[in-house]
Symmetry: D2
Subunit: 435 residues, 4 copies
Amino acid sequence: MDNRLQPLAEEKVFKDPVHKYIYVQDRTIWNLINTKEFQRLRRIRQLGTSYLTFHGAEHSRFSHSLGVYEITRKIISQFERGGYEDWPREEKLVTLCAALLHDVGHGPFSHSIEEVFDTHHEDWTCRILLEDTEINRVLREVDPSFPEQVAAVIRKTYEKPIVISLVSSQMDADRMDYLLRDAYFTGVNYGTFDLERILRVLRPHKGRIVVKESGMHAVEDYLMSRYQMYWQIYFHPVTRSSEIILRQILRRAKELHMNGYAFGWMIEPIRRLISGTIDVESYLALDEATMQTAFTIWQSEQDALLADLCRRFMDRKLYKYVTMDDADESLWASIREQFTAIGLNPDYHLEVDFPFDLAYAVYRSGTRDAKKNDKPPILVLDRDGDVSEISKKSDIIRSITGTHRGKYHLYYPYEPLLESAGKLSPDLRKLFELE
Amino acid sequence: MDNRLQPLAEEKVFKDPVHKYIYVQDRTIWNLINTKEFQRLRRIRQLGTSYLTFHGAEHSRFSHSLGVYEITRKIISQFERGGYEDWPREEKLVTLCAALLHDVGHGPFSHSIEEVFDTHHEDWTCRILLEDTEINRVLREVDPSFPEQVAAVIRKTYEKPIVISLVSSQMDADRMDYLLRDAYFTGVNYGTFDLERILRVLRPHKGRIVVKESGMHAVEDYLMSRYQMYWQIYFHPVTRSSEIILRQILRRAKELHMNGYAFGWMIEPIRRLISGTIDVESYLALDEATMQTAFTIWQSEQDALLADLCRRFMDRKLYKYVTMDDADESLWASIREQFTAIGLNPDYHLEVDFPFDLAYAVYRSGTRDAKKNDKPPILVLDRDGDVSEISKKSDIIRSITGTHRGKYHLYYPYEPLLESAGKLSPDLRKLFELE
Amino acid sequence: MDNRLQPLAEEKVFKDPVHKYIYVQDRTIWNLINTKEFQRLRRIRQLGTSYLTFHGAEHSRFSHSLGVYEITRKIISQFERGGYEDWPREEKLVTLCAALLHDVGHGPFSHSIEEVFDTHHEDWTCRILLEDTEINRVLREVDPSFPEQVAAVIRKTYEKPIVISLVSSQMDADRMDYLLRDAYFTGVNYGTFDLERILRVLRPHKGRIVVKESGMHAVEDYLMSRYQMYWQIYFHPVTRSSEIILRQILRRAKELHMNGYAFGWMIEPIRRLISGTIDVESYLALDEATMQTAFTIWQSEQDALLADLCRRFMDRKLYKYVTMDDADESLWASIREQFTAIGLNPDYHLEVDFPFDLAYAVYRSGTRDAKKNDKPPILVLDRDGDVSEISKKSDIIRSITGTHRGKYHLYYPYEPLLESAGKLSPDLRKLFELE
Amino acid sequence: MDNRLQPLAEEKVFKDPVHKYIYVQDRTIWNLINTKEFQRLRRIRQLGTSYLTFHGAEHSRFSHSLGVYEITRKIISQFERGGYEDWPREEKLVTLCAALLHDVGHGPFSHSIEEVFDTHHEDWTCRILLEDTEINRVLREVDPSFPEQVAAVIRKTYEKPIVISLVSSQMDADRMDYLLRDAYFTGVNYGTFDLERILRVLRPHKGRIVVKESGMHAVEDYLMSRYQMYWQIYFHPVTRSSEIILRQILRRAKELHMNGYAFGWMIEPIRRLISGTIDVESYLALDEATMQTAFTIWQSEQDALLADLCRRFMDRKLYKYVTMDDADESLWASIREQFTAIGLNPDYHLEVDFPFDLAYAVYRSGTRDAKKNDKPPILVLDRDGDVSEISKKSDIIRSITGTHRGKYHLYYPYEPLLESAGKLSPDLRKLFELE
């Protein structure tokens, strides 16, 4: 490794509302932050469409990425001060780079795009690390194999699991930063927990990261924060409504493209996205600005459905929702039929959402939602040196493990239903609160 | 006035990080917030390009506008509880609407656009209130004359000066909110002051708003916050550098347009903006998303200067700066000459900035920078009922009144100068820190 | 009711770190705060000996009492704005006075004194309200029956249960203030929850106070705060150790008095306390200053045990503790025997503590610890108007209801044991960590 | 130096509301904190009688002393990381001990006692370090000369001025902690400034501590905090009133003692205090608990003046005050005469206070109030390596340097004047607001 490992002549700092300051000592980290691919994260919001519910939530993935880096830096710095044998010091820069870059492959409104176009941001992250980018150039300056090493941490194939778990586990720097940050910017105080104390009770132990038992209540508090943030912020039904509209815009555009529709307005990166031919260069040209610009202009598209969905998204005329305990197939068929009868398109004007289902996956591994559950559990180290999974030790954590709620939300456009209310059955008029 | 003056059946709240909650009781306020013109403020950052210096500063004019409304609501509510005779209760809704809407005419990166295209956001605000918009329709539902009444407050021609001064004075709801909000989102604590105490010492008095003398220290603290925010945040040289790049992009686009240049890519609202033919509809289609999209795509424009400026802005490759005490004309001429000799364009590649000049204008009226100084001074009401201008009472306030610093910053592109350093005089090499 | 019900000419405020400001509008409240009995609360710490563990916890019952008053004032003010029929407006002043005065009967280190001398602070509160005190005079100025009305709220015999439940229930103003306040002054952030939101979802409903279902997560968060505060702060083993020492000082003094011991130093109120002959006047002369002064001087008492205990308390040379899973009677007998053999007094030098037992009682009524469980449960009002007990609705709350842990702590003086370690059995040497 | 310099096996932490955590790594520091002389600081409030104005201000000198230690530890730790040549690393423990212990000589209500009995807390600090105390024993374990070294820092005779200035200068760890701490506990936000930033711009430079010019605004903010805290908190007229009463209790007790008065109740340390014969042992037995106990019991003393003053202090029946611009000698004589005529004692019942005078001394050396002004000024290091005194660089700092206000407050007992109002001249009735 060459002189790129040399520290900066003078430590650089970023003012950060969550961590007060973010400290950069490595030249490589500094150079990575200044690449255009990393700067692009400034134009992608951390919480996607949540700003339509919580107007403070305009913070970017740029600020979150710096925060993940900073927490990782603090954990490593404490491991080094503690002198723990388990900690592979030479891996420090790999870990810091992976922490900083783990989200660099996120696109605008990432979850919606991933769902509609079946892409994965981890894949894009790795491509951005490995293909011809400024980031790749900065990493290669450390060592030709360095981009691959960092990518291995992202892909979870890196040889030392302890490095992976710092960046990706049930209590990793990523989660710790986003809970604190999302709480700060939305203005709720559910997400606050004692970061400093948690950092103090983390230990490397037999190749894994564990929590000293004396810090278990701090971990309980952290997991409760996470639980509350999911229910109060991430699953907020108004946010879900905006995500539904957004997904339908993307689905509609894709459908129109496949049907040979001639868009009145288009730009190349979006054309490639919806046609499934996107490459790294075009992907990096996508951000929330370009997507929103498309939606703004598409309000004048000839396709009335696309134009209406775009207007709804940009002007925040979202779908309304009602809460239901249950629904049988016959009700379902009846709704679709009546919607069609009054000129609505049930594929676009109706959506059922089970946000609570995701909570199940939050703290339990080995379940059906495997993709989201591949993160190792939180381990507690007791005074006798024994390690156990935390939910075995805490009633509270057990109570939020595997939770699953049966209620679901039904989303629909209120105004056209109200206009045609007379043509709907009384049941539906009641269900959709039209009278 | 009709039933639009009726309160909402149930108070609505917005979660806000600065004021905890924002309370909406009037149907008109609720409906205004839901107009598309007001929702558009979500896509315009409160602090323009400051997010390039302070990554937390992504908050929108939408959140600020709600904050100004909320502070105004609190002041009025306290005036009403206090039962002060000076307070014209029937003006409550006018004031609240003006507070909410005072920034609705802001465009993307407003100050830069105003400077290059000589527009004024107050004018746009009034046009949006009075022309054919959703906002106009909501206001007219109160009373046909209502849009004009609200516009009069914005224009400062409203008959009751006390109403105007709530929305626009040296210590108005606008300033109180933005100091607190900008401090919160940048993460600095310079901007914090005791809002609750200030609200408690404000009084209507003989048609003006005054501060009880017992609250003078709180006002000192507020003005010091303002002073510090100007120096630390608003005038930060990195932010100034990004504003310079931004202005030059706009200037270049305008110049190219005037010279008949055929843009490789253009959209209608921007074409109208740079050609000076913009109307309300196109203006409302402008936001930071559309501007940034243009800058993204213009990186491939044939005009190398425009393309370079756009790349600098989007990738945050800003101009460097040096601080100078003074400069004589000969130095100036020499720089321009040598810049031209190495292929730089001194009209675009060189800019001098006196950010400190503006501080002069902050708290003193009747000076040359009249446009920015038309806000009434802060008045103190002493125990004997006498009113005086606050800087007469406070050494501290006097010390920041009329401040003017002589130093200025010189901005320039570092990399091309470094490349051609050999062709520059030793003086310039030293000045631009090229060796 | 006479003119004492008139509001103050000008609202008074107290600066408070938890609520920012505390607002006093009623003359009666103002006068009550200025009585000497209420001022005495300044000399009694809210958290007893917790300051020996958390050095910030020096806040007094005076500040807590103001806080309870303020939260009650806010709840009532919101009930009045909401115009709920269930709310008996004429009871406002009774409720506010009860909120302000509910702790006025607390003595110094209240829980220890109550345990050793079998007194109850509620009884003292009522006596202070009803006997010849400044407080009684202020209350009688409202109406001769007023002291009795306020006392009835304290005793929970007041005819309107809704008034009682504001001051004393599972989610009363008392608990809300102390969680926030104790968290603030200790510096932990476990105790923070969204007070403003909880206030907004409280409703009077059929003579009780209920929570709207939409606010249930805020209540979960509040109960988790409470749970964490109990485990992290109130049950902290170092605090328990200091309480043990304190109780033993009091027990020893009482024992000595009963045995006719002639104290080298004594003052009248303490003599009356330990002899069981205390009256209101003497009780009011007791505060933490007088108790600590006694302990300071008693370090020179002839009784070596009392002197040693006092020294331990004042110099914070507390007992050490070890955690045990279980203990059989034979171990117990063996410890006592060996302690006696080396000159220790097992009645004073050994104490077992089950702090966790109390957590059981926190949220469940109808259990054996009836005295501590007489507070009504938290009720949730759903959208259909049905009311249910909250733990039926929330997994999380169920998980902390009725919790009971088996471990206990054994407290003992380390130094004398270490000195005589050679005379102890190996088992005990290991148990007491002497080797 | 022996093994006492070894660090603790495991870092200890204190939870602190201001600094979140206070970290102890040195065994000596840990042992000093556990001495009885240091524990005694728990019974002495940091802000004396200010709790009578700001009820949150109950924090002790114990917590402040830990805070000063922690800030010093952070500064040193940064100097060591920065690798500055000026910093004498071997002095680390001396500095930390001096920081921790600098206030250990404070007595209860220190400023009042110093004024009445002409003692100085620095002298007591040195005696406690050097005479036969637990602190002395812990220090001697490091090295026999160690107590003397630490005392030299306190006395400002230590050979390295840089060590002294960390503990005692215009911007030392002491001031930084108390501003933040007093602001936190009173609940005002005047005292907040960006500690982390200030720590980052401090540098050792040619044997002194300087501030990098880039941090000057942070220093301005710190000095403004200090200014505001003086005016809003430390000089608050209600606090001054309580200090006046307190001083008069002490003066009266001293006077009575000198006149051979037989106190109905007395304890040895207080007897020694008022007779001027106090030694270290008795001094250490004094704390706010013993003083308040005396005042409580003295309410029944035969001397009516002493009893009345004690009642005023304990029940917070303080003197009222009026603000005056000026007073001539004849007014003065007239007040004294009329006071005497109605049975008041002008030596005790009347006091004039110029709190603003002290502000003069705050930032300027070389003035008449030399004793309070012996702290070196704040030095700014500019980019050229030049050092200048900060008020030369900042208009704001100049505006608060040497400030002096002419108004004064007149304190007097309201009730007896009101009772005898008829016997006073109209002028006095007006002056004392009796009508």
